[in-house]
């Protein structure tokens, strides 16, 4: 059952085997696994419960960001360089993800094992991935799901001799509306909202929506033993005065890559290693616009049915960066996001907007190596410090240059950089400009859709927060099941890896529950 804020008329006390903080790819997966094993499970989700059946997912960005996004679409890192994209609703960030579904690449899996993540070996993960892919109907999109931007992307890549690959999609009965980021109004995208959440509920789990966790509680020996939470009035975003106390044998922290470390810090949990909140990676996303002589209408159909994966790993020569370290994809943005990120204002901006259907875009996911961090201000507000630096700047510039090459090769007559000075490339010979333009500290707003690492996993309690069993080194009975545990980003969309890791976390919990 799901309980929403307006159904709460008095303070509540609950007792359960496991209380899970967060209902995204991590929390929902753990809930499903434990509930199906017959365990008593309570899931707490800070955001609201919004469904296609009720007509809540109405595709309007202003309404939908208010409903499902962590900071209503306006969260940024402190230097304004990164637009934080994350979920705040039942189903978490999967409600606005693009449904790209990747297995953890072998090379990255090996790196994780070298970092001490025993129990997460490829042979352990493979059958889990297989099951998840079946459950979520993961498949390569048929050609009819390629919008014009995807077609142009393939055309440009082919001209450059770059190999493209179909991006596997978690969809069932997609109607090509193109409003994936706003939350699928047709239940076609296989987010947690329509997969693991209903499965968990059917197996007996109980979910409280609109429920903000104030604190993870501990017993006299320092073991996690529950949570203290407040209900949020959805209309105001403020506590409505009703409280919830949950006593549990185990607590699972699955509030997501931007929020789990915050819950930890706000709860005042121990942090002798000093690692909590450090190592924040977020896959910064540089993107470019292009003007074509034909309608592209990039806002319909699947955002990213194709991509170039051969640049996923950075290539070095004698320790010197050469190229790569990112994925390259077609981009999809609705009108208001294009408007807000195109350069210029007034008549100049208007002239670009007049050509909106002819505007296309590409995007890269940078496999960042230099992390930022999460901390709390003196008032207890989360602070996200992140700046592109070191080799990540080189990767970003290279990604932008590759995008510009592809856009021109696909027939673009002009490439537009979404920077503050409005850099425009009118010919491929101008691409080297991208080595010189200012891209730091907010000169370009990069998306940050895949936060990871702020409660990283490892064997050594001095250098990590969570053990390979997913249990916190310093807080017995507290498990973490979200991308916060990744020692490095997976180098691909993380959703399937988060789910797979969460299955492993569930197995550890089941062993402990007996």
């Amino acid at each position: 059952m799901i309980v929403e804020f307006h159904q709460i008329t008095h303070d509540l006390n609950e007792e359960t085997d496991v209380v899970i903080v967060g209902s995204g790819c991590g929390g929902a997966t753990v809930a499903q696994e434990l509930a199906r094993a017959g365990k008593r499970v309570i899931v707490l989700e800070r955001g609201g419960y919004f469904t296609a059946a009720r007509g809540d997912l109405d595709q309007r960005s202003d309404n939908m960001l208010a409903r499902i996004d962590g900071a209503r679409g306006l969260g940024t890192s402190r230097n304004t360089e990164i637009a934080m994209m994350y979920g705040n609703c039942v189903g978490g960030a999967s409600v606005h993800y693009w449904a790209d579904s990747w297995r953890l690449p072998k090379d990255r899996n090996d790196l994780y094992i070298r970092a001490g993540l025993s129990g997460h070996e490829p042979e352990v993960l493979e059958p889990i991935f297989e099951q998840l892919e079946k459950d979520l109907n993961v498949h390569v999109a048929e050609p009819e799901y390629f919008n014009r931007m995807n077609q142009l992307f393939d055309l440009g890549a082919k001209k450059l001799g770059w190999r493209t690959e179909g991006v596997r999609q978690a969809r069932r009965g997609c109607v090509k509306s193109g409003h994936c980021y706003q939350g699928c109004a047709y239940d076609a995208k296989q987010s947690q909202l329509v997969t693991h959440i209903p499965a968990a509920l059917q197996a007996g789990a109980k979910l409280f929506a609109d429920c903000h966790v104030d604190q993870i509680t501990r017993d006299g020996k320092g073991k996690a033993n529950g949570v203290a939470a407040s209900f949020i009035d959805r209309a105001t975003g403020k506590p409505n005065g009703r409280k919830l106390a949950v006593k549990a044998r185990f607590v699972v922290l699955a509030a997501g890559g931007y929020s789990s470390a915050v819950v930890w810090l706000k709860s005042g949990l121990p942090n002798a290693s000093g690692q909590v909140g450090r190592n924040l990676f977020l896959n910064p996303c540089p993107y470019l616009y292009a003007l074509y002589n034909e309608p592209v209408v990039m806002w319909v159909n699947i955002p990213s049915a194709t991509g170039v994966m051969d640049f996923r790993l950075a290539r070095y020569d004698d320790g010197r960066y050469v190229e790569g370290g990112y994925l390259l994809h077609p981009n999809q943005l609705q009108a208001e996001f294009v408007a807000a990120t195109l350069p210029g204002f007034g008549r100049e901006h208007r002239t670009l907007m007049d050509q909106l259907p002819n505007i296309g875009s590409t995007v890269s996911w940078i496999d960042d190596e230099n992390p930022g961090g999460i901390s709390l201000s003196s008032e207890g507000c989360p602070l996200y410090d992140y700046r592109l630096r070191g080799v990540d700047i080189l990767k970003t510039r290279d990604a932008m240059k590759k995008q510009a090459m592809l856009l021109f090769a696909s027939g673009a007559r002009e490439v537009i950089v979404p920077d503050t000075v409005g850099t425009r490339l009118r010919d491929p010979s101008e691409i080297p400009l991208l080595d010189k333009i200012d891209i730091a500290d907010g000169a370009i707003l990069f998306g940050g859709p895949h936060p990871a690492g702020a409660l990283r996993m490892g064997k050594d309690p001095q250098t990590s927060v969570v053990a390979p069993s997913h249990e916190a080194h310093e807080v017995p009975n507290l498990f973490v099941a979200d991308p916060s545990v990744f020692p490095r980003p997976p180098s691909v969309d993380p959703s399937l890896t988060i789910m797979a890791f969460s299955v492993i976390a569930s197995r550890s919990l089941l062993q402990r529950l007996g």
Binding site: Q59, A66, R72, N79, G237, A340, G372
Partner: protein, 200 residues
């Protein structure tokens, strides 16, 4: 390296020192911009988080940032400034609110440094455009980001208005809209008492 980003700290880059200096300096110029002037600019609108002056400045900025296409609403008709003000209700206590406020005050009084006049809201249309162009290309990052941050909000909320879509060839959603109490559409705004709000 974490925490060393002092050059452009904060939303819109409006660092505390710079803002304090500007607000202090700005107080010298307020003699020609009393509350009555600003109140007249926003008509009967009642701000939720911003004060009257800040809402008026935001309205004037929005009118300059948005070049209206035939058949599309003006920034004032689209209630762009009021929608941003409403949005801030959900971010009370956050750095976003303090930085938006600081940036508005900064932009209102910076034209003096460009020898254009004492207040942005008092400039003519050409000088407003000239001033904002200077903001975009300034070597002072706080000034750049004060403008670009506000510009982002203005353009997002203006083009989130369905009345603007036809003019830019955007098809928009394929399902019916549903009112959300915690949303930020024009339907979420309280009615303006008396005269139509102008530029807000």
């Amino acid at each position: 390296m974490i925490g060393n980003g002092v050059s452009r700290r904060g939303f819109l880059g409006a660092g505390a020192v710079g803002t304090t200096a500007l607000v202090t300096a700005g107080s010298w110029f307020w003699w020609d911009g009393g509350d009555a002037t600003y109140r007249a600019m926003i008509g009967g609108a009642v701000p939720a988080v911003l004060n009257v002056k800040e809402l008026a400045i935001l309205g004037a900025l929005a009118e300059t940032v948005i070049a209206v296409a035939p058949g599309a609403p003006t920034a004032g008709e689209a209630e762009t400034a009021r929608r941003i003000d409403r949005e801030l209700v959900f971010h009370k206590g956050s750095k976003l609110v303090s930085d938006v406020k600081a940036s508005l005050i900064m932009l209102e009084h910076l034209p003096a440094l460009d020898f254009l006049g004492t207040r942005f809201t008092a400039l003519d249309a050409a000088d407003k455009t000239h001033f904002l162009r200077n903001c975009e290309t300034s070597s002072w990052s706080a000034r750049v980001q004060a403008f670009t941050g506000l510009k982002f909000l203005i353009l997002f909320f203006y083009y989130a208005d369905s009345r603007t879509w036809r003019s830019v060839g955007y098809g928009g959603p394929q399902v019916a809209g549903k009112f959300f109490e915690g949303g930020n559409t024009i339907a979420n705004l309280p009615p303006v008492a008396g005269a139509q709000a102008r530029g807000a």
